[in-house]
Amino acid sequence: MKLKKQTISLDSLDWNILQALQGNAKQTYTEIGLRFGVAHSTVYDRIRRMEENGVIKKYTAVVDLEKIGVKYITAIMTVFTDPKESENVAKKLSEAKEVVEVSTSLSEELLIIAKVVAKDQDALHSFIAQKVAPLPGVLRIRTSIITRKYKQEELLIEKK
């Protein structure tokens, strides 16, 4: 494993291990080792190094909130900003617990695209009206409430 500035180069075993973990992060080192014909200690060592250098950011559980009775709505909010203030707006949005994802995009105008989660439409509107619209540099906001989700996955890596 070599560090090249920001990019970390991985060998084929690292890629295989990452792919296996993306499929099921609860697999044991032994199970992964058996699959790729290496010792569990080698798998442990590779994973530990990938954790240390931030290739593996975290392990998490994907919870089906509807099954446990948690009702919520998700919306995609597009915030049109004054270019001088967009960095600050993006930072402020990132700090809000209602906002689960923040990105910027430069098409015809500089946009901030954020995914917002709230318990209902009133809570969503209150958050946007009281916490987002008043931020300096916010010019206007377009929001689309998601009504049906067909797919939600992280990008699965492909073996190099």
């Binding site: 509107h125 946007i128 009206a129 008043p134 929001t143």
Partner: protein, 111 residues
């Protein structure tokens, strides 16, 4: 009404207490009003869809009562809402209510 309560209603508000105009849930027009005077201007010039959205949600009367602290105007707006005006009629009636109130308070303030 005491001079101090008139002055309070006519004061300039910090941006976090301004009224922000939306056309529907989460869709901010970019227009806002940080005083009663600005609110009157926005009612005169603003998007009719936005005026309908806020009037029937009760947002105007809530902001006027809780932020501007003008209970009388809030009641007048609520009464207007009960008449269920839409479109240009809504704008002209709402403008009449808020501009009349603003002029009255302004003249009281000047003494």
């Amino acid at each position: 009404m005491t001079p101090s309560s008139v002055a309070r209603i006519l004061r300039k508000l910090p941006r976090e207490n301004a009224f922000y105009f939306f056309t529907s849930i989460g869709n901010y027009t970019g227009e806002n009003a940080a005083s009663l005077e600005e609110f009157v201007d926005k009612v005169r010039e603003g998007n009719i869809k936005s005026l309908e959205f806020h009037l029937y949600r009760g947002d105007f009367e809530k902001w006027v009562a809780e932020v501007l602290e003008d209970g009388e105007l809030a009641e007048e707006i609520e009464n207007l809402k009960n008449l269920k005006p839409v479109g240009d009629a809504l704008r002209s009636q709402l403008y009449l209510v808020v501009s009349k109130r603003f002029e009255k308070l302004k003249s009281e303030f000047r003494g």
